[in-house]
C-alpha cells in the first residue's frame, strides 16, 4: 500500500491542485484577487486569513462550485470548473457548517453519501465500520445525528468525506467551535491522513492549528496572497524572535517613551504593549524599574506573523 503510494508520488509529479491567477468579483468587489498557488501530492496546505479574506471563496472555486471570473484551476489533473464533477470523485470535503443528514443514523449517513459517488450500498456498508472506528465513533453507528456532540458531528463529517477514499481533502475551518479535546482528536485524525499520503487543504484562523498541521501556509488578506511559505520560515523571516507583552497602568505612555527606542517594533493594543525584539534584556530591565507594569516573555509565533501581516483591526 505504502509502496504503491510512494510509486504513485513519483509517477504523478504534477501538483494535486494548481491554481493560477484566480480572480472572483462580486458586484464589482474583488473577493479573490489574482491568487496563484500549487499544492503537491501528499502535502498539507493551509489557507489562513481574517474573515472575508477570500479563503472559502477560493476553496469553492477549487471544487468547481463557483466559476471564477478568470484564472485556471486544475484539480487532480482535471480542469475546473469544466470537469469539476468528474474531479470530485477523488475529492473529500469537510464544509464549514455541518450538513449531515438529520433524517439518517450515523451509518446511514455514510452509506447514503457513498451512493452519490456510485458506490453500491453493500460496499459502503462494508466500509462504514472502519471509517467510524477511525473517527472514534465505532459504537455510534446506529445513533441519530441529533444525539451527537459537536465534536462527534465533525468527526462523522470527516469520516463521510473519506467514504470515497479520496486523494485530496478540502477542510473549511475543520475545528471552529470545537472544545480543545475535540480539536485534538481532529488534529490526530488529520495527521494520520497526511501520513497515509492524502493531500490536505484546510482553511483556519487558528494559528496553532496551522502551525501544527500544515507543511506550507498561504496567508490571505482582502483576496490576495500576502505570504506563502512553511510555518517555520514565515516566523523566522517575517518576525523578531522574542515578544514581550507588557501590561499595567500607563503602558501606552511607557511604550512610547521607553519601549520604542529599545525594541525593533512596538504595538499598543488596548492595555497591552507588544514589543518585538531580538535582544529583550534591556527592555526587561526597563520594565523591572517601572512600578505597576507586568511582563510576559515568549517566543514569537505564527499569530504574531499573522497580526503583523493583516493588522489588529477587527474584521466582520
Amino acid at each position: 500500500m505504502l509502496a504503491q503510494r510512494v510509486h504513485a508520488a513519483h509517477v504523478y509529479s504534477r501538483p494535486m491542485l494548481d491554481v493560477q491567477n484566480l480572480i472572483k468579483t462580486y458586484s464589482g468587489r474583488s473577493v479573490v484577487d489574482d491568487v496563484s498557488f500549487q499544492v503537491a501530492r501528499g502535502e498539507c496546505f493551509g489557507l489562513l486569513g481574517p474573515n472575508g479574506a477570500g479563503k472559502t471563496t477560493t476553496l469553492r472555486c477549487c471544487l468547481g462550485l463557483i466559476a471564477p471570473d478568470s484564472g485556471s484551476i486544475r484539480l487532480g489533473d482535471l480542469p475546473v470548473p469544466q470537469a469539476a464533477r468528474e474531479a470530485r470523485y477523488r475529492v473529500g470535503v469537510v464544509p464549514q457548517y455541518d450538513n449531515l443528514d438529520p433524517d439518517f443514523t450515523v451509518t446511514e449517513n455514510l452509506v447514503v453519501y457513498a451512493r452519490y459517488f456510485g458506490i453500491p450500498a453493500r460496499e459502503a456498508r462494508a466500509r462504514a465500520p472502519a471509517l467510524l472506528e477511525y473517527a472514534g465513533l465505532g459504537d455510534r453507528g446506529d445513533a441519530k445525528i441529533e444525539a451527537l456532540s459537536g465534536g462527534m458531528k465533525r468527526r462523522l463529517t470527516l469520516a463521510r468525506a473519506l467514504v470515497n477514499d479520496p486523494d485530496i481533502l478540502f477542510l473549511d475551518e475543520p475545528t471552529t467551535a470545537l472544545d480543545p479535546q475535540a480539536r485534538h482528536l481532529i488534529w490526530d485524525a488529520l495527521r494520520r491522513l497526511a501520513k497515509q499520503g492524502k493531500t490536505l487543504i484546510l482553511t483556519t484562523h487558528f494559528m496553532d492549528e496551522a502551525e501544527r498541521l500544515c507543511d506550507r501556509l498561504c496567508v490571505m488578506d482582502a483576496g490576495r496572497i500576502i505570504a506563502l511559505d512553511t510555518p517555520r520560515r514565515l516566523i523566522d523571516s517575517l518576525i523578531e524572535p522574542v515578544v514581550l507583552e507588557v501590561y499595567g497602568d500607563g503602558v501606552a505612555e511607557w511604550a512610547e517613551r521607553v519601549a520604542r527606542p529599545l525594541a525593533e517594533r512596538v504595538e499598543v493594543s488596548g492595555e497591552t504593549a507588544f514589543c518585538y525584539t531580538h535582544a529583550p534584556e534591556a527592555l526587561l530591565a526597563a520594565v523591572e524599574q517601572t512600578a505597576g507594569l507586568r511582563v510576559l516573555r515568549r517566543a514569537a509565533n505564527l499569530e504574531d506573523v499573522f497580526i503583523k501581516l493583516t493588522g489588529r483591526d477587527i474584521r466582520d
Binding site: L65, R85, E108, F117, G118
Partner: protein, 265 residues
C-alpha cells in the same frame, strides 16, 4: 467492483441517472416515516370526502346526475396530488436546500445542481403519485369507481405532480424563508382550486373565468381525472396532457437555471 470501475461507471452515468441518487435519498427518508405518511395520505381525502362529500353533498343533491361525493372524489385526486407535490417541492425542498444543507453535501459529491433539481422534481412527482393512489383506493372502497379502467388516472396523477413540482421548484428557488410559500398558496394555489372545477363544475363560472381556467394546469388535471375515473367527456385530452407536461418541463428548466445561479453565489 474496484474503485476505478465504480468511478468509470459513475462518471459515464447520464444526468437522469444521477438524479435518481437524489430520489433514492428522499425515498429512504420517506420509508422511515412511511406509516405516518400513508395514514396522512389516506386520512385527508377520507375526511374531505366524508365531511364535504356527504355533508355538503346532502345539501347540494346531485351534480350531472351523480351524487356530489362522486363528483368531488375525482376532484380530490387533483387537489391532493397538487398539494402533495407542492409541499414536497416547496417546504421539504427548501429545508434540504437552505436549512439542512443537504444539497450542499450533494454538491460536494459528484452531483450537480441540475441533478439535484431534477431529482427533487421526480421525487415530488412520485409523492403525488402516492397521494393519487391513496385517493383512488378510497374511491374503490366507497364504491365510487369499479373495474380496471380508472387505474389509467395514476399516470395522470404523476403528471399532475410533475407539473406542480415544476412550478413549486421555481418558487422555492426564489424563497428566502418558509413564509414566502404562504403567498404562493394564498395567492395562487387556493384561488386556482376554485377556478378549476375541483369543488364545483367549471360551468358554474362566468364565461370569461371558464376561458381563463383553461390556461391553468389544475383545470386540465380535473378534466383528465374526471374523464378517466368517471368516464366524463374530456374536451381536449391531448391538449390537457400537453399543458401539464409543459408546466412541469418549463418549470423544471427555469428552476434548474435559478438554482444553479443561487447555489453558485
Amino acid at each position: 467492483m474496484t474503485d476505478v470501475a465504480i468511478e468509470q461507471q459513475a462518471s459515464r452515468s447520464p444526468q437522469g441517472w444521477r438524479a435518481l441518487h437524489v430520489v433514492r435519498r428522499n425515498a429512504l427518508v420517506w420509508r422511515k416515516l412511511m406509516i405516518t405518511s400513508l395514514i396522512g395520505n389516506l386520512a385527508e381525502p377520507l375526511i374531505y370526502l366524508v365531511g364535504l362529500g356527504y355533508g355538503v353533498g346532502a345539501l347540494i343533491g346531485e351534480i350531472d346526475g351523480r351524487p356530489y361525493v362522486t363528483f368531488l372524489a375525482a376532484g380530490m385526486i387533483c387537489y391532493s396530488t397538487m398539494n402533495s407535490a407542492s409541499f414536497e417541492a416547496l417546504y421539504s425542498a427548501f429545508a434540504r436546500m437552505q436549512v439542512q444543507r443537504t444539497w450542499e453535501g450533494m454538491l460536494h459529491a459528484p452531483l450537480t445542481s441540475d441533478d439535484i433539481v431534477t431529482g427533487e422534481w421526480l421525487w415530488a412527482g412520485t409523492k403525488a403519485l402516492f397521494s393519487g393512489t391513496a385517493i383512488l383506493l378510497v374511491m374503490y372502497g366507497f364504491g365510487i369507481v369499479r373495474g380496471f379502467a380508472p387505474l389509467a388516472v395514476l399516470p395522470v396523477a404523476l403528471l399532475i405532480g410533475l407539473a406542480f413540482a415544476g412550478i413549486a421548484l421555481v418558487v422555492t428557488s426564489f424563497a428566502k424563508s418558509y413564509d414566502f410559500f404562504t403567498y404562493y398558496f394564498v395567492l395562487l394555489v387556493t384561488p386556482m382550486s376554485f377556478l378549476s372545477g375541483i369543488y364545483f363544475p367549471l360551468s358554474q363560472l362566468p364565461e370569461a373565468a371558464q376561458t381563463a381556467a383553461w390556461f391553468l394546469p389544475l383545470a386540465h388535471a380535473a378534466s383528465l381525472a374526471r374523464g378517466l375515473t368517471l368516464g366524463d367527456p374530456m374536451p381536449w385530452p391531448l391538449l390537457s396532457v400537453a399543458v401539464l407536461l409543459a408546466y412541469g418541463l418549463v418549470g423544471l428548466a427555469i428552476a434548474k437555471r435559478r438554482v444553479r445561479q443561487r447555489l453558485s453565489r
